[in-house]
Subunit: 339 residues, 2 copies
Amino acid sequence: MAITIKDVAKEANVSPSTVSRVIADNPRISEETKIRVREAMEKLGYHPNFTARSLAVKSTATIGIVMPFSASHVLQDPFFPEVIRGISVQAREHKYGMYLSTAGTEEEIFEEVVGMVQGRRVDGLILLYSRTDDRVIKYLQKIDFPFAVIGRPVLGAERVIHVDNDNIYITKVVTEYLIGLGHTNIAFIGFDGDFVFMLDRLEGYKQALSESGIPFNEDYIVHKSTLSKGKEAIKSFLRSVESPTALVCTDDFIAIELMSHFEEMNIRVPEDVSIASFNNVLLAQYSKPALTSVDIDIFQLGMQGASCLLEKIKDPNVLPKRITIPAKLIERKSCAQIK
Amino acid sequence: MAITIKDVAKEANVSPSTVSRVIADNPRISEETKIRVREAMEKLGYHPNFTARSLAVKSTATIGIVMPFSASHVLQDPFFPEVIRGISVQAREHKYGMYLSTAGTEEEIFEEVVGMVQGRRVDGLILLYSRTDDRVIKYLQKIDFPFAVIGRPVLGAERVIHVDNDNIYITKVVTEYLIGLGHTNIAFIGFDGDFVFMLDRLEGYKQALSESGIPFNEDYIVHKSTLSKGKEAIKSFLRSVESPTALVCTDDFIAIELMSHFEEMNIRVPEDVSIASFNNVLLAQYSKPALTSVDIDIFQLGMQGASCLLEKIKDPNVLPKRITIPAKLIERKSCAQIK
DNA sequence: GTGAAAGCGCTAACAA
DNA sequence: TTGTTAGCGCTTTCAC
């Protein structure tokens, strides 16, 4: 059996509670006994039992990370490791641990969340996604459990802590950039699914068009899955009504995949079609041509998310807030003036 | 205050121990009372407290994942999400949770591990790396704590559960493939650091040369950091003694980065230099030219690792074993017959 | 088949 | 400044 606080107490000739106080570095314990107790701990190789402590203080010092794996097929890029890296920096600083929940379907996610919350496995939750009409968010709100979301909750965002880019704005900037290069036939390539960041980007795209007096054309909105059906789908898209001369891609990986197809089809980037995309993954600069992409600062997204959550955990009275992480368009070689 | 077992007991007019037995689905409880108790649980919205349960049964039903973040800068590619996806499938099947430890330095990692183990936060550990002479492994072995490593422990591998590719073999295959194409000036591009998979790949490379009677040339071993110093470094390397006509790259991302530099330098792949690399990331097929790469089946690595660990946790007597995940060379367009 | 009681290892009043 | 005591919520002998 492992060393407990009692063993240490006996060794140091004090009571268990004194040992407990030494662990907490309680100021009302004399330096002498502190030293004596610490020596005993050292000698016996004592380590506090986290579970017991959690039970007693009703706090686990761990935050749960909810990561939808259905999405992560899609988000194959460095988003996930990077956001976790951001979270871990804060967690570590506050001596919090991270508990990972990776479920597939919405149903599974919901169950895991309920388990984590009710089972008191975590003190707070950070959701790495946001979809429209999310059951999990509603639940957490109802029971008033501390959580933060990376992204924008679509309903009642005013009442939830969240950190996000201003996707509408930045996509507008991107689209206007393309418009500035003379493009008017601009397509929008997104994921399937009801992720909010997608909707926001679409909205920004629409706003830019609208403000420039370019009519919105439903045919220019394409989902990745459509294009993934193969070259034929891409061809038929490009030859549609009026073929687009520029693309707003919601993800670098889609852009890179597309460029690869384009090459085989002898469509030149950026001469024939300009491409601007999102995330600015490491590889964006190495693609041919180097990809013009929006740096959304994934690390910050994670770090600020964790920071807000921790704040809320420590003080349940902190008000809901939204933090906006600046995104920046990184111009490279994949966009050109229209001929 | 949340609903406890006592509340349920009261509601159902039984004792707390009976409720506990119902939770465990103990066969000695009559169906009637089971039903009655379950109704009470339902009615009150009871959820078992995980921490309390852990304390009582001395088991946490969670596995710890140790992920060195210093390495993950290097392993920017999908390795990390993918291996976790593999782990999570097993964890979920066994109703285990995942606790994530992300530390930077060896020292930090060690401390986190000790904390997790002694603090009894986890029932077992899975190490996502293996470096030479690892302190963590020694420690875990000494205290006989269940763990599995993804990769090959360099010392006493016979006594530790691990899952790995046969890196020596597969790299030999890759190198021989290049030799078969007529190359003799073959360089090896690796990471810095003392990761075992690197050493193994280097070994396989050497073996292939040796068996084909090609002398080994130290100048052909290059670390990524050297090349990252910029184009000058690459140029001087390629113009060294006898410039290589083929490259064995230990990572797709390095290969892709390199190819990007090559293009600017008007070095053609594969005409001037052939490149074969590792990991077979999604993007490998979309690079120009499509990258010949080794598929190491990261998902399996994670899944089998978790599976072994869980086995060990459930039965401490299972013997140490090594599982080898087959790796496969995927031929694409980045290697050509030497002229 | 069910209940009473002790205990998992720790913390936190309350005393002293 | 320190010890005593009573939990935290659950499991698990040992009785009945």
